[in-house]
């Protein structure tokens, strides 16, 4: 391999066809006499522009149809000519410079063209070179050279991460892997499970229990996840009424009065609340508005007057404190309005518990969050809630549903295959990677392979084949022709 050109942070390296270098590989451009190394990643492999190649191909193309023949080449010169024809140009991005074994994030150093040694370097050696932290490893899978790739739980701690890719590429699988990886280290994880895919986290592939059985708690709203009004509190119920059920301001004020007067009398039931609204001496329209929202709350089946069957959120989190655990909120078969009610309740209580330091921090995994999180929550989650200890991981196949400012603040992105240019354009707005890398590599990622970008991989993007998990797969698409062979 020979250094050919450097323009800004782009490097072009001439490579022989026999060199085992592919897209995504890392190269070390080294000048031993100055003790400097350039770290570059191959983002595209092209044919080198060799003079006379067009003539060569035109001549060969005539031989395909009406003309054919043989070469008598006793010296074997043809193999060298073929070698030149197949010469490759590696388009690389400079990721940093090592000066006296210390990493510097700049690309201004120009190595010597004639004396530079260029070698392929494995990702793990690269991390070793830049001082990657080996504590609390989570094995994500393996890199192209077959070596295991670990990120650390620290890389997800206090961070905002995005898992994205088109449908069926393995986003949810990776998300499950990260959930279990965090649970392994005693972390508390809340999963907003839109399609009931995470319900099998505590089951092995064969159906029996696995090592996570006792630590995965699946909560199905209206079934094993119901709450009482007293647990909910005014603040949370108002959020539900305003944000999930769209209660207007005047009606909200009236509801506050009703709630406060009921609270002064002690515990109250749903029936008490309904009765209080009916007896309220307010404007008829306000009463109607309050009644319709009350009916929505009752019909959701999420609220109960039976304190014993009500879920104590605080206690649930207590359970996860010692050995870690995942609370999976199963939103499958839950209507859109009810989903928002559940989410407003869950997030409201989470923040409350975090505020009270009853739990230290929570990792939130939100699948297709745009379907149930209101607009104002986005910035709240990304900026404010992070300081309370709520660390979010968004999982989506529609990258444009996540706002640009969230991409800019994302610490790590787990990018699966996208073929659509617009989707890649959206993801490439992330501050931690250049658009060329995203577009060039992500378009060719096979299923179950992802490109890791950002802090999780010390800002050295790497392609990884996500490892398999011994868990029961849930939420598969139901197929009509599943058991039918071709006629």
């Amino acid at each position: 391999m020979r250094l050919y050109k450097k323009e800004g942070s782009n490097l072009q390296i001439l490579s022989a066809p026999s060199d085992d270098v592919e897209k995504g590989d890392y190269l070390l451009v080294e000048n031993t006499n100055v003790n400097r190394k350039l770290i570059a990643q191959v983002i595209d492999v092209q044919f080198a522009s060799v003079p006379g190649l067009l003539e060569e191909l035109l001549r060969d193309s005539t031989t395909d149809e009406q003309v054919y023949g043989e070469n008598f080449d006793p010296l074997g010169v043809s193999s060298h000519i073929n070698h030149i024809q197949d010469a490759r140009m590696l388009i690389c991005k400079i990721r940093g410079t090592m000066v006296n074994d210390k990493l510097h994030v700049n690309s201004s150093w120009l190595p010597c063209r004639s004396k530079s040694g260029i070698t392929k370097i494995s990702f793990n050696s690269l991390l070793g070179n830049v001082g990657g932290d080996g504590g609390l490893p989570i094995n994500v899978g393996e890199t192209k050279d077959g070596s295991p790739l670990n990120i650390t739980a620290h890389d997800l701690d206090g961070r905002l991460n995005i898992i994205t890719g088109k449908k069926g590429t393995g986003k949810s699988h990776l998300s499950k892997l990260l959930v279990l990886g965090l649970v392994d280290y005693g972390a508390t994880v809340v999963v907003l499970d839109l399609n009931g895919e995470y319900a099998g986290l505590g089951l092995s592939a064969k159906g029996g229990g696995n090592q996570y059985s006792g630590r995965v708690h699946v909560l199905t709203p209206g079934a094993n996840f119901r709450v009482s009004l007293s647990q909910t509190g005014l603040g949370v119920i108002l959020k539900i009424l305003v944000h999930a059920l769209g209660l207007p301001g005047t009606s909200t004020r009236e509801f506050k009065h009703i709630w406060k007067s009921l609270s002064q009398r002690g515990k109250f039931t749903l029936q008490d609340l309904g009765e209080a609204i009916r007896r309220c001496s307010c404007n008829m329209h306000v009463r109607d508005a309050l009644f319709s929202r009350y009916n929505s709350l009752v019909n959701s089946g999420f609220f109960t007057d039976n304190e014993e069957s009500a879920t104590d959120f605080g206690k649930l989190f207590e359970k996860t404190k010692k050995d870690g655990g995942a609370l999976v909120i199963n939103l499958k078969d839950v209507s859109s309005v009810d989903r928002q009610i559940v989410l407003e309740y869950t997030l409201g209580n989470l923040v409350k518990l975090l505020n009270q330091w009853r739990i230290k921090s929570v990792f939130l995994f939100a699948e297709e969050a745009h379907l149930y999180l209101r607009e104002t929550y986005w910035e709240d989650i990304v900026t404010r809630m992070r300081h309370f200890g709520l660390f979010t991981n968004f999982v989506t196949n529609q990258p444009d549903t996540i706002k640009e400012n969230i991409y800019r603040q994302a610490d790590s992105i787990f990018l699966f295959n996208f073929t659509n240019e617009r989707d890649l354009e959206t993801v490439s707005k992330a501050a931690r990677v250049d658009a060329e890398t995203v577009k060039s590599i992500a378009q060719e990622l096979p299923p179950r392979h992802c490109l890791l970008i950002g802090k999780a991989v010390k800002d050295f993007p790497v392609m990884v084949k996500v490892r398999a998990l011994d868990i029961k797969t849930m939420g598969q698409t139901r197929l009509f022709f599943e058991n039918r062979v071709s006629a």
Binding site: G69, E70, I81, I84
Partner: protein
């Protein structure tokens, strides 16, 4: 005693039965091998890729020395497509300068034979053969020429720079000989003319080739892409501009010889298809005139002609010519095989004249 080579001579080609016994003389390959094996140099200074330097062609029209004093007539001979289809075989050779070493010049030679069989074209490429020509080995090369009757009145070996073309011509004559000996009742196409008596084309040797072809009922037609022959101030081929194709213009009044140089063919201008191109065509003088014209008519019926030029000959040219990629490939082969370091010397013209320094280095 010439050392045993590691490689064999040309294997049996996939030729029509008449031509299949064609073989390349082992001495040619031995010469290539020995000249390369004995390189006493540590570096190879490559020639710039030949995008602007066309490869050397061989045995082209070299008859400018034949002055046409007063041609008596130019006669137009109309042609008809003959239904009598005959095999058409063409041969061409290219050589190219690859670079320089401390002691000499490196060049490569490649030949190509193309032929039309039924409705398909086939080809056989021979080479490339690299040669390292030095002051020390040029005598050995010259000895080879002499052993094959390629000797001139000049007893001194030609200069290093001329030897490249000579080696190419030697290979071309060998291939022509092979074809003349193998082909039967065919049309044999040469690239160039039938002018003999120069260093590259001894009279006896060229006459022998033509005789062998005649004895096997084949006719040799030599097409010159570029002719410098003029009369009355006009280029010879200009006279075909208004002629109705397909036709031949017969030029009478050529002197048959000028000093040692001898014309072994009758000179025509061939305009075989509509278009702007016409070519000088030499037909073996010893072939009866009618048979010569019949051969051209057979060519019209047997081969594809584009811009008056036979496709078989065009293919032979294409397959022998070196592209820039191949030159780089050969440079790499030499550097790799003989342990030479490729060192690019500065281009003196560029150094002196900057963007005005056009042309080859030197």
């Amino acid at each position: 005693m010439i050392e045993q080579l590691q490689y064999a001579t040309t294997p049996t080609y996939n030729f029509p039965p008449q031509i299949e016994n064609l073989q390349l003389p082992p001495t040619f390959m031995e010469l290539s091998h020995n000249s390369m094996k004995n390189i006493e140099s540590s570096y190879l200074h490559p020639t710039e890729t030949p995008l602007n330097h066309p490869p050397t062609e061989h045995v082209e029209d070299s008859t400018t020395i034949l002055g046409i004093q007063q041609p008596q007539t130019i006669k137009t001979i109309p042609l008809e497509h003959s239904l009598d289809q005959k095999p058409v075989v063409a041969v061409d050779v290219s050589s190219i300068r690859i670079g320089e070493t401390e002691t000499g010049v490196l060049c490569a030679i490649r030949g190509a034979i193309a032929w039309k069989e039924k409705s398909r074209y086939k080809y056989q490429r021979i080479g490339p053969f690299p040669f390292h020509i030095t002051e020390q080995n040029k005598k050995e090369i010259y000895k080879l020429f002499r052993s094959h009757s390629f000797e001139t009145s000049d007893t001194r070996a030609p200069s290093i720079n001329n030897i490249q073309a000579r080696i190419g011509n030697l290979l071309e004559r060998w291939l022509q000989l092979g074809i003349c000996c193998s082909a039967y009742n065919s049309i044999i196409l040469w690239d160039g003319s039938m002018t003999a008596g120069m260093a590259d084309s001894p009279v006896d040797e060229v006459a022998r080739l033509l005789e062998i072809a005649r004895n096997r009922l084949s006719t040799v037609l030599a097409f010159s892409k570029n002719t410098t022959l003029r009369f009355s101030g006009y280029k010879l081929t200009d006279y075909a501009e208004k002629a109705e194709p397909p036709c031949l213009l017969q030029i009478n009044g050529f002197p048959l010889s000028s000093g040692p140089v001898l014309l072994l063919g009758d000179v025509y201008v061939a305009k075989l298809t509509p278009g702007v191109c016409s070519f000088r065509l030499d037909i073996d003088r010893k072939v009866p005139r009618e048979r010569g014209i019949e051969a051209v008519q057979s060519l019209l019926g047997s081969d594809l002609l584009v811009q008056s030029y036979p496709e078989t000959l065009r293919l032979a040219h294409i397959f022998s010519t070196f592209t820039a990629t191949e030159v780089i490939g050969i440079q790499r082969f030499i550097a790799h095989q003989y342990g030479l370091k490729i060192v690019t010397r500065p281009n003196v013209r560029r150094l002196l004249f900057g963007p005005f320094g056009k042309g080859a280095e030197g």
